[in-house]
């Protein structure tokens, strides 16, 4: 049993930890040196703050392969970005296509619209391994379909969907396509320009290694969506209406300046080390999947291979409820995992793990093989009892 106090963190799908050193550094130095309100005042400190925000905006747009930084919207988190995208596109009495793999940050928003705006929803089921067949999406399109919203990397099984094919289908039909990149941003290649996605929601604090309280919405240039919240933007203040100009159209109020500046450092780190991050996560994932597959009493859900997936593994152990096992990993082995439904009940219904859920092990760029070994030995010890 581990007696070290150092936590072994396998909960990167909830939020990544630790962060690269410049992220910590930036949070402190930004508040000390550039803590003014960007875009509101003309003084040098406000300009420095604005430069930092614009700097992160530029980094995001080039990281995502889109040429228009003004179409990068800073949000509170990924849920906020999804809300802005869904409420901004889905019209009254229209139809939406989504999947049973979605997080509550999509399903609950859509359910609200079903009640408030009489929206009809088609839910596509995945294959046994957790993949959505884009052809099923194509076949579900109706005349009044106003949005296709799918999860890129599953936060339960880790399955990574084929976003390109779905994007192509939606482009052909002229339907906005929203990609929820909560789990894939920073953990899988995500070239939004090449994919042709019209809307993409990303958290700043997961694979992009920024602090909590940061999120991103990308809106393609050929798509106009209605503003979600209105207020101060620092521009065009004489106008009684909220501006149409991006990014202000979808941003209102003072942004999380220090968080966004620090997010820039996180993205810089990911961009500079992208290939090695992906390689390392794949190796770790492959190792864990192989070893778990050999461990009697452990059942792994979702794709068996480390290809076409992100660094998340869902499992259950014989004789243990997921919550009990998670508590033991935490208390006796200093291993942090998440247990339960992971805010995605539909995915668990499909896996047959509802309502207890699973133990979710999610790898990040700083997890090591030694940590993976410790996790495996803890699981083996628990299963033996």
């Amino acid at each position: 049993m581990s007696t070290e106090n150092k936590i072994i963190y396998f909960d990167n799908a909830a939020t990544s930890w630790p962060k690269p050193e410049p992220v910590y550094e930036s949070l402190g130095s930004f508040l000390r040196e550039k803590g003014a309100n960007p875009g509101r005042s003309g003084h040098r400190m406000a300009q420095a703050a604005e430069r930092a925000i614009d700097g992160t905006r530029n980094l995001v747009s080039s990281f995502l392969g889109v040429g228009s930084p003004e179409r990068i919207i800073f949000t509170l988190n990924c849920t906020d970005a999804l809300n802005i995208a869904i409420h901004g596109t889905v019209k009254k009495s229209s139809h939406v296509i989504t999947t049973s793999l979605e997080h509550n940050s999509v399903t609950r928003v859509l359910n609200e619209l079903r009640e408030r705006k009489s929206v009809e929803i088609t839910i596509i089921e995945p294959s046994e391994e957790g993949y959505i067949d884009p052809d099923n999406i194509r076949k579900s399109i109706r005349k009044n379909t106003s949005l296709i919203a799918i999860n890129h990397g599953s936060n339960v099984t880790g399955a990574l969907q084929d976003a390109g094919e779905t994007a192509l289908i939606s482009r052909k039909k002229g339907i906005p396509f929203l990609l929820d990149a909560a789990q894939s941003a920073g953990a899988a290649p995500l070239d939004l320009g090449a994919l042709g996605v019209s809307l993409c929601a990303l958290p700043g604090h997961k694979g992009l290694l920024g602090p909590t309280g940061t999120g991103i919405l990308y809106v393609s240039e050929d798509l106009e969506i209605s503003s979600f919240r209105q207020g101060g933007t620092g521009t065009d203040s004489a106008s009684p209406r909220h501006p149409d100009k991006y990014p202000f159209h979808l941003e209102a109020g003072t942004p999380n300046t220090s968080g966004i500046a620090a997010l820039g450092e996180g993205i810089r780190y990911v961009a500079d080390n992208f290939d090695s991050i992906i390689k390392r996560e794949k190796e770790l994932l492959g190792f864990l999947l192989e070893e778990l597959g050999k461990t009697g009493g452990i059942r792994v859900y979702g794709p068996r291979s480390s290809e076409k997936r992100v660094g998340t593994i869902s499992l259950n152990a014989e004789g243990w409820s997921p919550d009990d096992l998670g508590a033991v990993l935490d208390e006796n082995f200093n291993i942090a995992v998440r247990t339960g439904l992971h805010c995605a009940p539909g995915a668990h219904r499909g896996l047959g793990t509802f309502p207890e859920g699973t133990v979710r092990v999610s790898c990040g760029p700083f997890n090591t093989e030694e940590e993976a070994e410790k996790l495996l030995s803890a699981l083996r010890e628990a299963v033996k009892l």
């Binding site: 919550d323 009990d324 508590a327 208390e331 006796n332 247990t339 439904l341 207890e356």
Partner: protein, 309 residues
């Protein structure tokens, strides 16, 4: 505060004595096993599934309609303490665990409210008058909470009905002295009574010069840092309760305590048992996962009753 065996009796004594205003706070509902000692309640209350505070108010209003009674069916914790305890002339103890007593003690010291401490289990009990600025406080007596699973509770060790009655009547008598304008008559010692062996002892207690509460003014139990952390688990009908102390539970002791009332299974990592329709898992540092309820107050009650502290 609290309306079980102690609280229901204290409130009855005070209502009959004509105390003008009583606020009764308790999160629990009456169960059949309570009737053995909780003298205000009836089998009909159990059948009607009534909350203790609500049922107590109704019975007391029938006993003395001249008393104004307010019933609060909720948990007392750092976030509700000010709402429920502010403006009190005196706080009487009818609780069943030391953590909430520490919270009351902190609140009473901070706001200079007299607090009459009382506790009873098995055949013995304690009581002490805690008068801010005059007597030691409860934390002078108990600087630290005992580890989870260590103390006896009425549900694990049992309790004979007379002992909470005796302690409650003593609390009520002290309250009457104070409310009738005779603070000089209050007992300043710690009283210990064991009805089985017939021991009635008083101990003189001195204020601790290093007391975190009454000497240093650190009212830690009024912050989220000190009390239990309650988490409703993602999706499932379960509540996780984690004590702040992180002290290790002695699984053997706890297993023995629970042995007469439940089938306990487990291994070196976990103890599991089912009581009152809920599956309860206890882990080494006192964390518990209560399955079969998403009601935080019910989960807290089960923790106090079967694990203790």
């Amino acid at each position: 505060m609290g309306c079980g065996a102690l609280g229901s009796r204290v409130s009855e004594e005070l209502a009959r004595s004509g105390c003008g205003f009583l606020r009764i706070i308790d999160r629990d509902f009456i169960e059949l096993s309570n009737l053995q000692r909780q003298v205000l309640f009836t089998e009909k209350d159990v059948r009607d599934n009534l909350p203790k505070a609500f049922a107590a108010r109704r019975h007391l209003e029938e006993i003395n309609s001249g008393v104004t009674i307010e019933d609060i069916v909720d948990d007392l914790n750092y976030s509700t303490a000010d709402k429920y305890l502010s403006g009190a002339d005196i706080i009487l103890d009818g609780t069943d665990n030391l953590e909430v007593r520490m919270l009351i003690n902190d609140y009473a010291q901070k706001n200079r409210i007299p607090y009459i401490y009382g506790a009873a289990v098995s055949s013995y009990g304690n009581s002490m008058n805690i008068i801010p600025g005059r007597t030691p406080c409860l934390r002078c007596l108990f600087p630290l909470l005992p580890p989870p699973g260590e103390v006896d509770t009425c549900d694990t060790a049992g309790v004979i009905s007379p002992i909470p009655g005796v302690i409650a009547c003593i609390e009520a008598a002290e309250a009457i002295k104070l409310l009738s304008g005779n603070p000089g008559e209050l007992r300043e010692s710690l009283l210990f009574i064991d009805l089985w062996s017939g021991r009635f002892n008083t101990y003189s207690v001195k204020p601790e010069p290093g007391c975190e509460c009454c000497a240093a003014g650190n009212y830690e139990y009024l912050t989220p840092e000190k009390g239990k952390k309650i988490t409703t688990l993602c999706g499932r009908n379960a509540v996780q309760i984690t004590p702040a102390s992180g002290e290790n539970v002695n699984f053997e002791d706890l297993r023995e305590k629970l042995h007469p009332i439940a089938e306990v299974e487990g291994n070196k990592f976990i103890l599991k048992f089912t009581l009152d329709g809920c599956g309860i898992s206890v882990f080494k540092n006192g964390r518990a996962i209560i399955q079969g309820t998403s009601d935080v107050n019910r989960a807290r009650s089960l923790y106090s009753r079967y694990i203790g502290e």
